[in-house]
Amino acid sequence: MNNRVRTAWLFLAPMLVLMGVVAVWPLLRSVWFAFTETNINNLEASRFIGLENFVGPYGLFFNPNYTDGFWASDWGTAIRNTFQFAFVSVILETLAGLGVAMLLNQEFKGRTLVRTAVLVPWAIPTIVSAKMWGWMLHDQFGVVNQLLLDWGLIADKIAWTADAGTAMWSVVLVDVWKTTPFMALLILAALQTLPRDCYEAARVDGVHPLRVFWKVTLPLIRQPLLVAMVFRLLDALRVFDLIYVLTSNDSSTISMSGLVMREMVEAGNVGFGSAASTSLFLIIMLSAVVFLRATRVKLAEA
Amino acid sequence: MSRIEFNKVCKRYAPGLPLTIKDATLTIDDGEFCVFVGPSGCGKSTLLRCVAGLEDISSGDLSIAGVRVNDLPPAKRGVAMVFQSYALYPHMTVRENMAFGLQVMGADKAAIARKVQNAADILQLGPLMDRLPKALSGGQRQRVAIGRAIVKEPKLFLFDEPLSNLDAALRVQTRLEIAKLHRDLGSASMIYVTHDQVEAMTLADKIVLLHTGKLIDERGSVAQVGSPMTLYHRPASTFVAGFIGSPKMNLLPGKLVGAEAGHALVEVAGQPVRAAVDARAVAAGSAVQIGIRPEHIVVADTGEGAALPATLLHVERLGDASLLYVNPGAGLPTMTVRAEGSVVRPAGTALSLRLLPEALHVFDAAGQACMRTVELPV
């Protein structure tokens, strides 16, 4: 059987080598760049500057130039934006997904049609969604403003994607619209594996459907639900495309990834940008650990 | 040419785990039909897979036709296997399924076609050759699986519970076909794994009954090797006696009073009883178990053998025979008696069970049998 093990590693080798070249090496180099000052037009001439990109007067954290406090700085704002976006989005899309899944779990005429329709937002590329909603939310010609005005819900047209107060919400809206199908399908799959007898027993006992949902359904799908949420949360922390295209990386909505792009590519500051990207990487890893611990605690309690 | 020898074969799945197979030593002769049988957990399938080469042998030697095969891959051992679920390649027709193994080995097309046709003839697969497995019934798939094995002209056929997925009627029919196949193929040996002792008794030239649980550690994996009649009439231990034969052999606690060359005297339920066994190796006065098969007990008030009084608890009528469940006394286990015909007697009837010396088995305190001194029936 040792033959089998040797074969396994042989079969895995090409993939591992490729991943090493394509993922591990660039990651290590990026971390290296974080400790240097480098300009994008001349990658070879990089100057080692230690932790200057991370802390100190030119750094991301503990910067004495942050007179309004860390959270008001560009980097702090980016972190704040990203986490706000991630949590709000994921909670909303989980709730919406739960609703849609419960709907699809019922048997009714046209159920397949609804399920097909639900897939549409997910199939549309993010860029297209961003442009499409950008158009619908357009302050002057957008249909959303038009409808809201017609229905008397607002007095003046709102610049949804430009106004600092509403920009983040418009990003959340588009993301929720786009990702709810994914959550709905996952939850539906979980719902469909639930044993029927619980429900039949509840029905025989005459238990109200809402109570059935709360006391029976929810606890049973808790585990896959939490897993899906953690998955999505970690995914949402890397958001870039949507914010960049919908709101052009405006400071009220800029995400951590957006800031990296701005610094590294637009400003050409590879060293600083790499420090930001490395910090982002660490923040996400830390979040992953925290989220997994939290869900494991919840599952252990269950 | 197809002799298989096991020498102290042991198998452990991982260090720290108990041995799944311990000290299996036996020989299967040329052309013999050998059945591995035993309760679940006895390792019979594992042992079969060790022979096939699908599992590694942890220690000990396995030889096929005189060649040590421990380190040989399955395809080089000259064996062919019929799987419990048939394992036919779903995307290939019957013909392609049967030809596949030969193709992999590099045989030329003409030889392959000839062998496939030959196997198809033996198993009457003619009209099915171009069908896919999903278009076949369970019994047909099984025949294709057997055909796939025949085509390779192996020294040894391995069957892993081939009848368990068939319904009862088909099972009996296929059992007969397998017996016929063995006769037709002559020189090849067969190892057949089953949990069904009826299949073992009817098909085997040689039965290998395997221990389960703690007994594996205490006594090794092999409980007894022998012909079906040997295991039936001369079980080597209470384990064997309890597994072979249905309904199970009755076992009663007793005491050895005395032993001579041709027979022994034991005390059962307060009664002195003679048994045709050689119990000289057992110390007088020690606790023993008396065994008697349900069909060997005669219910009669007078006649040969010691009389054991018992109370009738319940009768099950099977049509051709009746099973009487009787209580031989306080503190003693319920006994089963098999009587011919239909017995109509009310519960509570007092009966007299006659225990003939030739019908009795004696097992020592460790469950090992004393040698019986009667002739084995043919």
């Binding site: 158009w135 590294m264 982002l280 | -």
Partner: protein, 278 residues
């Protein structure tokens, strides 16, 4: 089965209608917009007074080489997915069917790699691409795209490989098959639906990628579709050609939508297999 109360039915169908409207509405609106040009775009009415395909034709004749963008996207996605699948088939066999030490850790690492933020490798990748002479070339995108495509395909194919019956593999071993033979002659014919859906999902992922495409390609000719759309500019600096943008979006979305709808069952099972079992 019991009869649903009338109120319940009404609520159910109302909810269903709402869900369908919200899901499909925006896309339909996008299609309608793409059929308007010029001043009609600024008309608040939803339906175009005069539907025209002018936007579509303009895309292929205009300043941006939209047709070229489409071709580039197809090439990059196909090469990425094709290469990943070849490696993933053997890798997933090892991960799905062979027991060995360190497998769990390896699977987790793979998952981890596909989860880390793309920007984390941006500078290193930039350097790599330049060194390989692939900067500003469409095919160069295959390198960063492999980061998420390869683990994804391996992960999903592993769950499918795991589900194949063990006795089938053993029968093949008894027939003398080497592992490669088992993969290609016994398993692959059974796995091809899984390959299709995995390939499809991976293709969609590569097709939609934006960040790397934005960073590593600056020459318009070499651009892929997502970046191309985001950069559709109008005749003057102040004019945003919404009509053209919508038309481009429709063109890009329709095939994807079509593929997803046709293969929806397989895609759903692929998604849930990867996620739920993971």
């Amino acid at each position: 089965m019991n009869q649903r109360p009338l109120l319940g039915s009404v609520a159910l169908y109302a909810a269903a209608a709402l869900v369908v409207c919200i899901s499909v509405g925006p896309f339909l609106y996008m299609v309608l917009t793409s059929l308007k040009t010029g001043a009609a775009l600024f008309d608040p009415a939803i339906w175009p007074k005069q539907a025209t395909t002018a936007n579509y034709t303009a895309l292929f004749e205009g300043a941006q080489p939209f047709g070229r963008h489409l071709l580039n996207s197809v090439i990059v996605a196909t090469v990425t997915v094709g290469g990943a699948m070849v490696l993933a088939v053997t890798a997933s066999y090892a991960l799905g069917r062979i027991r060995f030490k360190g497998k769990g850790l390896l699977m987790l690492t793979l998952l981890g790699v596909s989860m880390f933020p793309q920007v984390a490798v941006l500078s290193g990748m930039f350097e790599l691409i330049q060194a390989l002479g692939l900067f500003n070339r469409t095919l160069g995108l295959v390198v960063p795209y492999t980061i998420f495509t390869l683990p994804f395909t391996v992960w999903i194919l592993t769950t499918f490989m795991r589900d194949l019956p063990g006795e089938l593999e053993e029968a093949a071993i008894m027939d003398g098959c080497s592992p490669l033979r088992i993969i290609f002659q016994v398993f692959l014919p059974l796995l091809w639906p899984a390959l299709v859906s995995t390939g499809l999902l991976a293709f969609i992922g590569a097709w939609n990628e934006f960040l790397f495409a934005l960073t590593f390609i600056v020459e318009d000719d070499q651009r892929t579709v997502p970046v191309g759309i985001s950069m559709i500019a109008g005749a003057t600096a102040y004019e945003i050609p919404w009509g053209s943008i919508m038309a481009a979006s429709v063109i890009v979305t329709l095939p994807l939508l079509g593929l997803v709808l046709v293969f929806q069952k397989k895609i759903v099972s692929g998604l849930t297999a990867g996620a739920v079992k993971g």
